[in-house]
Homo-oligomer: 221 residues x 2
DNA sequence: CGGGAGATTGAGCCCCGTCAAAAACAGTGG
DNA sequence: CCACTGTTTTTGACGGGGCTCAATCTCCCG
């Protein structure tokens, strides 16, 4: 499962990816980006870690998207965060009920931790920014309307993709719904409403064109 | 504002507390509890830190309760966390939009951080547990019903107070509401409902007796 | 062309928010 | 001890935003 050489690749479930490693996103610049570690690949829906398995490593997205979620025993689910190329995740402490999964085809680089699990300075900052992100998301999920949540989501995705005009939504509607604490139906209806107001357009179900960034921003402040 | 000697106390807004430092809660045991640092006192509603002022220190609650919250410009508010005696908070990075305030009369001990803001091993674990708590709270706020949120809140408060039978609620209903992403009215109505079902009783508005811990627990799993 | 997953749309309803008022409570001063 | 005042809590009536259930449509991919 872990890989030895620099160029090797571990194929989980020995599936062929056809050689293409999608590169829709611009990786965030970070001191970790350069380190050319071996890739571990996951197919859509595959588990990266679960409540039981919590490794000694963090994960950096090379390509694709990962989701971190937790589920109630009756199936209700919350997606805590999506992680896009360049981003580092996996700070959830052992024993916490979270799972991480590949949303779509995903390549990860492992960042091993020291034996005592202590985080170096820069990783510590990343961990604290995850805390801030989770807390800010509480405000969105707890106190904003459906249209405000979608607007905030689009703006956030645009910012993280460094494209505010054309935004990829590389996850199904139900994942967006579970991230924003809505239903897939409501996500659809709000998208439709934004389209009818000429704030956005869809070139496909997974790709949005932002027509009026200002009006979108105005929805959330 | 900061204090020098071990026994001195800085009275913010030179208010007299009548000598009593309420001790309703059992402080969490931690290596930090013993360190007898000077207390800083806050009166109800007073700001501990805001988006602009983010110190080089963490805070440990000596007595009272603190809340961390963020507010939209139209007044909608979310309380991210309450902090009870013994608990350490203040990990929010500089520039994040959070405020911390005293819910009621509050005594804090400052834990200064090194110049580079790095966290020692144990503090790092606390920070990561804050991340896990925020993420678990996302599931509560996003996917659970009003009655489930209240039940989860009561159970959590009982656990943190190390009393599962009689639980103090040292904050007003509107704070509970903003913590659970409800309205004060709904909080009231759910309490009433739980009382009518004989799961809880109120000796006063701020003190609950749990009649059936099992039935309460059953509401959330 | 057929099959299946995801996306979209519609109809109806319910939980919880809104608005308003009453009641309980805590101080404060007489 | 009690009247007075402001705050918090509680209760009621009502409406709406988003959920549920179900059908249809679109898009892949074989």
């Amino acid at each position: 499962m872990l890989i030895e050489t620099d160029t090797s690749v571990s194929w989980r479930h020995e599936q062929d990816w056809g050689g293409q490693q999608p590169n829709h996103f611009v990786g965030a610049t970070s001191t970790f980006t350069g380190t050319s570690r071996p890739l571990t690949l996951y197919e859509a829906g595959e588990e990266i870690f679960g409540p039981a398995s919590r490794g000694q490593a963090l994960f950096q997205v090379a390509f694709g998207v990962a989701r971190v979620c937790s589920v109630l025993n009756d199936g209700r689910r919350t997606i805590t965060a999506f992680h896009l190329p360049g981003e580092i995740f996996g700070f959830e402490p052992a024993g916490s009920p979270f799972r991480a999964e590949a949303v779509e085809g995903l390549g990860l680089r492992m960042l091993p931790l020291p034996r005592d699990r202590s985080l170096a300075g820069e990783l510590q900052q990343v961990a604290l920014s995850r805390l801030a992100a989770a807390q800010e998301h509480l405000l969105v999920v707890g106190r904003q309307t459906a249209i405000e949540r979608i607007a905030a989501f689009l703006i956030d995705m645009g910012r993280r993709q460094k494209r505010s005009d054309v935004i990829d939504l590389p996850m199904p509607r139900c994942d967006i719904a579970d991230y924003l604490a809505l239903t897939p139906e409501t996500v659809c209806r709000v998208f439709k409403q934004l389209r009818e107001r000429h704030l956005i357009d869809f070139t496909s179900a997974r790709r949005v064109t932002v027509r009026s960034q200002g009006a979108l921003q105005a929805l959330i402040d």
